[in-house]
Symmetry: C2
Subunit: 337 residues, 2 copies
């Protein structure tokens, strides 16, 4: 009855995503508003329920929710969605933790709900049954707020991107404007994760941090399932004084991103990395080859799901086949009015 993995997907939003050229987590800015709500539905139901469109990048690369869904059905994994500030309604069940959509970090106080969200999710994280916790995210624009948090904490690293060409200069100038608006210099929020989250972060980072804090406080091991956003969560946990071991389960597509020094930052934060290769180049399919070409890369717990699939000795060919089943069904569903 026990020996259970609790897999929490935090879904939310930041207005930072509306800055031109920041994110590929949606076909256009209007569609992007709905991406986390749609991702939650895809992971929970394998289908859209209230959301209007399957999230794709501007070039048509499908959301990694497809792969997380495929693996969760193969493993019988339950995914619990936490509302980390959704902008649009979702048909997926979500845990409410008092998160509101995040503002643009170039404003002075973009995430006033962050301290309350950390407190609520910490309580949930302490009480959730399960022998281990995986925490994942879906939030367009999230790598920019992750960069903002890292800077506020005084960490030097850069972040990855859902775009093949990481718009790092744009992100850095957004973060600079944000620090200025918040009257912060880099490192001014060192040791103060709540301040970093509230001034430079987003509600998803706040909820993910709280969940991990609560679990770690009750001796439940935590795996951060994602890329550089989840490394920002690791940094927040370290700045909260957590010295327990932490691991990151991400995709090889994130590790292959030379614009982000993931391995260096992970080493600095004493976070171990797992990155299981889904061997997408073995199949000639546009939905998979986009990932091989560096699009999307990670999100919705894709890397964490791959780690669980690998631990369960699930063949990657089975993962790929089921993923294409999920994808085909979605595309069919979209074609039917």
């Amino acid at each position: 009855m026990k020996s259970k993995t609790q897999f929490c997907l935090v879904a939310g939003s930041t207005r930072t995503a509306t800055i031109d050229g920041i994110s590929a987590a949606g076909a256009d800015p209007e569609a992007m508003r709905e991406t986390p709500a749609a991702d939650a539905e895809l992971v929970v139901y394998g289908d859209l329920v209230r959301a209007g469109t399957v999230p794709v990048s501007p070039t048509g690369c499908p959301t990694p929710a497809v792969f997380t869904r495929a693996i969760s059905t193969l493993l019988g994994l339950d995914v619990t969605v936490v509302d980390g500030g959704l902008l649009e309604r979702t048909g997926a069940p979500t845990v409410s933790v008092g998160a509101s959509p995040g503002g643009d970090i170039r404003d002075q106080d973009p995430v006033p709900s962050a301290p309350g969200t950390v407190a609520a999710t910490r309580e949930v994280g302490r009480a959730l049954p399960g022998d281990e916790l995986f925490v994942a995210e879906t939030i367009p624009g999230g790598t920019t707020t992750a960069l903002g948090v890292l800077r506020a904490l005084g960490e030097e690293a850069t972040v990855s991107s859902s775009l093949p060409e990481n718009p790092l200069e744009t992100k850095q100038s957004v973060v600079e404007a944000g620090l200025e608006a918040s009257n912060l210099s880099p490192g001014d929020a060192a040791g103060d994760p709540s301040r970093a989250l509230r001034r430079m972060g987003d509600p998803v980072l706040a909820a993910a941090t709280g969940l991990a804090l609560g679990a770690l406080e009750t001796d439940v091991p935590v795996t951060l399932a994602g890329g550089t956003q989840m490394l920002a969560v690791a940094a927040l946990l370290r700045h909260a004084g957590i010295d327990r071991s932490l691991s990151l389960a991400t995709t090889p597509f994130v590790l292959q991103d030379d614009s982000a020094d993931v391995e260096d930052l992970a080493a600095d934060l004493e976070v171990s990395i797992t990155a299981i290769d889904p061997e997408f180049e073995a199949v000639d399919h546009p939905a998979l080859s986009a990932y091989v070409d560096g699009e999307a890369k990670e999100g919705v717990g894709f890397g964490g799901a791959l780690a669980l699939a690998d631990r369960a000795a699930l063949p990657m060919a089975t993962v790929r086949d089921r993923s294409l089943d999920v994808y085909d069904r979605l595309v069919e569903g979209v074609a039917t009015p």
Copy 2:
């Protein structure tokens, strides 16, 4: 990948429950506020997360959530919780459908959110994947609002109770006062389910009705998983013009309740009944014998879960054993601070 039962538990509240002697769905009125939130956590996680106490009747009879949880883990059934107007926060993920806690039906407009909730849940019911839909409820005081709805629709039947002695006179006088406050005579809302729900119902009945409507409109068969509250939903569906076949999966404890003419009302509404006996008298345990003695009887989809267990040829001895495991773990959990 398909052939899936969608099991929706609607959890909510009505201030009607605070009337003295109406409900046994909580040890006292304060605890009763939290019962649906706690039931949702028990079904989803098998444990409390944010709720403070395991729901029990004033005599200590445990919530039927214990049995639904036991069966759902044995069958690998996912239960989707819909927020049908929760009063207290829950750590369970819930689908938001715009429901607010219901007021006392002796007031003039106790459920102003009912029409919006029916519309939202109808949309969700249309879109939920799955080959069949089970709809269940947890709402203290729900049999009184069910009686109110039946009277507003012009149906003569009475309702069951979570108490061994059904306080039918109290319920009838509450309903009379409610009809007067709403300026309705019995039958005035015949053919107008929204009016019956808004004036004499509760938000859980509204959400359950909408879910069923949406599913039936897309040719997904619906099983109403519960007792007389779910028969009120059947009546609402009939008054909405639905003539498809409907079935009720309830417990034998409801059928044995002579104070409610369940079988007559079901026959009037052309609803077929399934009631699988969990054979609780086979085990000498206070948590089970309370049910044999007519306490609690039904709720949280207990009868629906039994029907699914029976369909899967799950031995009732296994159901009882697992139920006592769930119960023991909860009681232990409560003992630990």
